[in-house]
Structure formats: structure tokens, C-alpha cells
Symmetry: C2
Subunit: 532 residues, 2 copies
Amino acid sequence: MPAICILDKFEVEKNERFLKIAEDLTPPLLEEMIAPESLITLGHNIKGEACIDSRKPLDTLPGLMLKKDDSVILDFGTHHVGYVTLDLSFLGSHPDAPAYLYLRFAQRLDELTVDMSNYEGWLSKGWIQEEYVHVDVLPSTLALPRRYAFRYLEIRVIDTSLKYGLTVRSASLRAVSAVKMDQVAPLQSFDPLLASIDQVSCRTLHDCMQLVFEDGPKRDRRMWLGDLRLQARANYETFRNMDLVKRCLYLFGGLTFNDGMLAGCIFLEPEAEPDDTYLFDYALLYGSILLDYYEQTNDRAALEDLYPIALRQIDIGLSYLTEDHVIPDHSGDFWCFVDWGDGLNTQAASLAILIYAIRYALRLADHIGDNATIRRLQEMQEVLKESAIRHFWDEEQKLFVSGAEKQVSWATQVWMILARVFPQDKCHELILHTIDVEPRIRMVSPYMVHHYIDALLRCGEEERALQEIRRYWGEMVQDGADTFWELYNPYNKNESPYGSVALNSFCHAWSCTPSYFLRKFFGRKKTEHNNS
Amino acid sequence: MPAICILDKFEVEKNERFLKIAEDLTPPLLEEMIAPESLITLGHNIKGEACIDSRKPLDTLPGLMLKKDDSVILDFGTHHVGYVTLDLSFLGSHPDAPAYLYLRFAQRLDELTVDMSNYEGWLSKGWIQEEYVHVDVLPSTLALPRRYAFRYLEIRVIDTSLKYGLTVRSASLRAVSAVKMDQVAPLQSFDPLLASIDQVSCRTLHDCMQLVFEDGPKRDRRMWLGDLRLQARANYETFRNMDLVKRCLYLFGGLTFNDGMLAGCIFLEPEAEPDDTYLFDYALLYGSILLDYYEQTNDRAALEDLYPIALRQIDIGLSYLTEDHVIPDHSGDFWCFVDWGDGLNTQAASLAILIYAIRYALRLADHIGDNATIRRLQEMQEVLKESAIRHFWDEEQKLFVSGAEKQVSWATQVWMILARVFPQDKCHELILHTIDVEPRIRMVSPYMVHHYIDALLRCGEEERALQEIRRYWGEMVQDGADTFWELYNPYNKNESPYGSVALNSFCHAWSCTPSYFLRKFFGRKKTEHNNS
């Protein structure tokens, strides 16, 4: 099902002062020159998945003559984001026809085995990282103008001529990011899996930190509000680039629409513009990003500038309430994200997220000293908690249900726990019961699993939280992740909301939060202990 | 059958002084901005050929929203060579994915109806004028860096996204040539077909006159020696760009190989280099180009510089003679061009072309005052004429035959006439007899038909020459030619030596010679007369 939002009414209100602040905080992109590590050939493992069949050293590349239909795959060692330059030449007679090349950039090996020309899903084929290039003059330097997110580059020769073959004298990558990997010390853990998970998290965040916190440098290459919240949290425990968070808060705050709504995402080019996408949960969570930022930086001016924006989202959220104090069921629309996965009913979670957001708004109001708001929201919070239990709690199942069909999902339980609808001990019972029952409507995105880990920690289940990080993100590492993936359903590893797993983003911001959890909640002792 | 030459031994001798002279004569490219005339849709006529089904005015272009799989075809009115810029924008929401476009440039409508992805002929797919382009930011200006030769441009949207569609605000072409069309006054003829043939000839020559006389601006985009000879002749009657001829003579002369051989063609980039292709007939005809140039310009310095090069080609040609004074049969190789067309035996024509070339060498020697050479070549000429008759004349058929299988072809008769193996009256009988017999091995390329027209004129058959021009080039005009084609076999209009007619060049230098004939041999009166 296509998940897009197109608003009929969409009147943008730009706050030029905010946008100026954001612009002044544009980070310089730091560059690093990366050479490929080796040439590889592909094979398949016993599970039928693509794997590396053989490796050749890089110094064999220049001597390789590529004729029609020949190809070579370069392995750049790990995932990078940046610009590729190929130094091309030829063997044989003087080139008497243009060389015609097909280039394919892949985050994972699997992408190199899929014929994407037949892709008919609802996402744009424009996201496929491929190029067809004519090279009229050889030798020549082919500096590709577009940015790619990848580890593997396949260079396939569509044709040269009968008189010559193409050679690749060298390939280089100018990798870019707003931060440097060596700014973050490796996690001190004797558990190599946790150390790997943290490293992959940091690499994921690093590669997504560009001129803004991008959701994914392959796709969508822009800033989504929900992703920003998790990235900022991981950033505080790692790269600590406060200016980039501030810039992003001001970009969203400076680009509201329809009387103050926040966009689900922001485009930077050709100039900063909001998307005409409203996501109920993302907009509400802006206050949480602002509070985190303020508590990290004590940036009073930003707090005062942006507090009204955060508060406005709460009021917009409240405006959707029925007389009976529930949010109507919008589950058929791309309106409240919560998680990917077909068939998830988001009605109960919508209310839970509203309650959750009010808690952060109250803390913001407290910093501001806005007592009238505090009184008003405190009252509302109680009304909504009572409503949540009255409408969605199923005493028989001991679980929250959602929608007309009373759907039981992991997501609903998790958000009710994070909303603190029940006291902590009852939340604890609920999460254990949920784990026991294993609702059929599972979590699919690392974004949702993040909130599950958060809920476990809230319930004092630290050990289990760590175990779940090992199980979920650890399995991605075992599956070969260099950076964490947008989607990971351990029960269906080819799951994609886009009609092909090759359109999934395999370096995705919202997946980077293990570093946040491991570094914030688990000290050296804890992570060592869990290794034993 | 692939027609390529790869020399095992290939030692280039660059004459830096000659190359400097050539470089100093590099013409400035004259530019003209061209807008498309209209938007067209395609249909098929009753013969099943592509035709224009409908036209829309250009001002409908910017309002056209192109979504996935939509396309638009722009008609630039006639054939041009140059660089295209598209001013792109969008309709709908802010673009949330790259626009992915497929562009196809076509000289003829047919090219737009062929799926070239399946082309498996021996020429490089790199010659197909197509591009796949990602546009990451909209609105934006897409200035394509490569040069195209075309009249029609199809812009097909592979994908945008569900949220927006592409628009083309404008398209423009910066056409380039070393000359301008308005430098040549239209042919004064009351026969509109002859006027059209002349106009199309001039346009063909104009589009091929770039930094050198190119054979075809779509393919091969370089200078071939045989094509240069005919282009220079047409140029003397039209644009009269003497410097460009001189530059090309010096380029060939400055880039010999293997003790003085001239290359079949020259590459300009990344620097001037000869192809490792030797064509026996092309090399011999260099002297004819030089003589024409000298007689047009009286450029004594060039004559003295280049005479030894021309003479060397004769000596190389003579070195291939057997003791019995014939050229061995190389018909299976790409060694003596003569014409396209499968199965043509070139042995007899090789000898005829050698005799023909000696006549031009004698005239050069006369200008130089090289009496020793004159004596030597005059003797040789007589020996070879006698040999030609002895080996190849079939008294029974009253035709020349060629090769072990005694093949009778048009080409052999034409070249024997041009070599003046017989006195003029007997040549006249031969051409009429050939026309009468209609040998099965026909002429395919306009290059060969040029020599047939030349032979008719030599025999005093002016009327018939004009009729043949009308029949051959006139039929191309009737078939919709904006510029004359590389190949035209009226008996098989889809003939191609390359496995697909779409790889043929439809603006090809060697086809431009009607202007030469019409303007040099037929005054106003003659062309008027033939219209009556």
C-alpha cells in the first residue's frame, strides 16, 4: 500500500529568522578519500543469499580489460556516503566508439543480484542507485556528480567496440559527513557482539549526518522528524554535534504550515521547504526533541524560540479528539506512522503518543515557567489516560486493543507503557505479558523496536533490553550489516513496504539507537557482565 | 560481417610541424540557438513506416505533466548537431524522489520506434544516442554535456513519484558547425526536387563540418579519408572553407605510420591520433584531395609539404602488386573499401583505383616539376591499364570481372571507367552496357553512387547523371531525409552493414555530393531544362 500524504490545503508559513539561524549552522562537510579494498565476485551461500565468492587484490584492477558485458565489482570495505571518481583507460586500438557503462551502487550484496528494471512497486525507480554513462574520450577521468550511499560498486561494460576494451586505472571515493568516525571512542565492552553493534550504530549515524540529520543517505536523503528524534538521542551519546540538532529544530520550526503544523519531513533543495506531509505522531514528538536538546545544552534562546512550536503541536493533536476523548481511527491513511507493517491499527497508539507528548510538553512548560499550560495539560493528561484505559484496555486479555476490530499489537502495548497510562509495576506486568502472548501484529522497523527497548528499560527490564538489542540488531550484524537497516523483520527478512527489498534503505538513521542505549544505560560493568 | 582493421604492427610517425599547422587552423565553432518547432506523436503509414500522427504547438509543452512512463517527442524542425539544455520543473507536491528520465535523440522517426536494448550487431551500442538521467533537484536546468546529431528528441519519464510529475518548461539546442547555412545561396533551379536535393546536401555537409570534416556527426564522429575527399569537393562548390580542408590534409599527413602509410581515419581526442586502419583505396586517393585543394587555392607550400605523402601512398600501393601486375584479392578483409554491401569482390576495383590515383599523382608531379616521377608513373600507368584489361576484361560479357569467381559488379565497371582503362568512347559503351545488364552486385552507399555519377559525367551522360541524382538522392528526399544517409539501397531500404538500420548514420558526409555535381556541372539552364 503506498504510504504518502498529499494535503489539499497547504499554506507554508516561513519564519525567516528561524531559517537564518538554521542556515548559519550549516555544517562544513568533512571529507575522507577512500580507495576500494578489493575486487570481488559473487556467489550464493546455502541459504541462497548473495555472498562473496572470491576476492582479488586492488592492484589487479588496472590490468583488467573489460569488453562488452564484462563487469567488475569493487568492495570499498564498509558503507560510505560520497562521490566516486573513476580513472578510465583502454587496452587495444584507439577507442573508435564511446564506451557505454552501467554502474550500480549497492549497500548490500543482494542489490547486485536483483534485476531492478522490472521494479513496479510504489516507490520511485529514481531511488535505484544506478547510472548509464557514455564515455566519449579515453583515457579520461569520470567524476560522477551525484552522491551515493554504498559499499559495493559494480562497473558493467554495456559495450566498447571490437577494437578496444575498457580499463579502470583507479577508483576513489570522496566520502562525506558532518562528523568523523574517530570522534567517538569505541564502546568499552568485552562482548564483541555489543561492540560491533555499537560500531555499526555509530557508522549508521555518521553516514546519515550530512547537511541535516538525513533519514537515509540512499533514500529518502532528507530529514524526517521522527528519525531526527532518535538520531539526536544517539548523537548526544556519541558525536555530540549540538549545532546540527539545533539547525534541524530551527528548520522544522521555521517551516510550519496550515496555522502551525510541523511537516513530517523537510527538503533542502533547491531551498528549504516542508513536505506537504503531516504525521500526527512525528509532529507531537517535536517537543521531546526540543526538551532533549535543551537539557543537553541549556540553550535558553532556542527553548524560548521553539517552545511555542512544540506546544502548538500538542494543541493540534488535541484538536483531533472526539467528544469521548479518543483519536478517530486513521489507520487506513499515512497519518500516524507508528511502524511499517501491513495491517497495523494505530488508533490506540495515536492516543498513547499524544499522552506521551504531553508529558514532554509539561517538562518544557516547567522550564519556561508557563504555569497556565502546566495546569491545563496536567488535567488533560489525566483525562486522556483514563480515556485510554476505558476505550482500549481489554481486562480479559490483559492487553490494550486498537480500532473497531480490537486489534492486539506489540506497538499499542509499547506506546501505552511509554505513555505511562498505568503505574510502573502494572506497565511491567504488561510488557512481560505481551512478551508471553507474542501478539501476531509484530514490530517491523528498528524505529518501533527502539520504543520497545525504551519500554523495557522503563519497566526495569534492563537485562532483557540488552538481550533484545543483541537479538535484533545483533542478528543484523550477523546478517552482514555494515550499517543498520531501515527495515528488519527477523521473521521475514525480505519484508519491504516498497514492493522490493532493494528499495529499502540499508543505512537508516532510526536504526542507530543501540549506541544511545548501550552508552546511556549500560556502563562498562553491565556490558561486560552480559558477555559472561 | 564486422568490417574492422587491427594492425599487428603499428608505428606512428608524427610530423609535429604538420600537426602544428593543422592545430593553428582549428576552426571556431559557430553557434546557433534552436528551439523545438512542435510536439509530435507517432503513428504508422500504410507501408508500416513511422510517421507523425499529430502535432501540438510548442507552447503546450510547459503545461504538460509527465508521470511514470509518460513521454513527449520534440521536433526541432530539421537535422542539427549540438548540445541540448532542458529547463525542468514539476507539478504537484515538492519532488520527494529523483526524477529518472530516458532521453532518445533520433535523426529519423524510425529510430524512435526501435527497442535498441536488444541490439546485438557488431557496432558498439555506445553509438545509440540515448541517455538515462537522474534529476535530483527540481526546478533545475539540465545541460547535457554530450553532442548529439538529431531532429527529434524523446523525453520519457521512467519515474517521478506518486507525489509529483515532471514538466519541461523549455528545451533548447545550441547547434554547432564550422560554417553557417546562409553562407551558401540556394541553388537556382526551377526543379523543386533538385533544389531540395541541393539543400539537403548542403545541410548534410554543414552538419558534418565541425573541428574537422566528420564522416557523420552521430557516428563515427571522426574524419575518414575517403569521406574527406568528397566533402572537400562539395565544399569547394558551397561553403568554400579552404582552411578546414588544409587542416585535414595536414592532420592526415602529420599522422602516418609504418613507413609512411596514411590512416583510414583520424581521432582528435584526447589528442590527434591515427586509427590503426589502413584502407588501400582511401590512402591512394589522398593525392586526389591534395590536387583538388591545390587547384582551388594555389597553396604552393601545402603542395610541397604534402606531395611526398601522396606519392608515398602510390608507392605503397604499387608494392602490393604481384609479378603479374595485379593486386591480390583481399575481398574478405576490411582492406579496400570501395562500397558497403555483402559479397562485393574488390580485386579489380583495387587495381582500377591504383591506376586512377596514379593519374592524380602525375598531375601533382607536374605541378611540382618532378620529371623522374612523371616518367616512372606514366610507364607504370600503361603497364597497369594493360594488366587490368588482360586480367579482368571479359570480352564475351563485355564487362570487367573481379576475383577468382569472376564477379560482375557495378563498382568494378565504374572504377575501370574512372581509371580510364579504355578510351572515352569505349568507356561510354561500357557504362551503357552496364546499365543495360544491371549487374546483380549493386551499389549500396552514396559514396559508390557518387563515383557512378562521376563515371556517367566522364562518359558525357550528363542527362542520365542528373536523372540518377534525381532517382537516388531524390528518393531519399521523398523518403523524408533532412540530411543524406550513409546507406541507401533503393531495393532494400532497411539495409545496414551493422545489424540494425538504427545504427546507420543519417547525416553522412559522403552523401553530400549532389551539391558538388549540380553546382559544378549543371548551370542554371541545365537544371531548368530538366524540370520541363
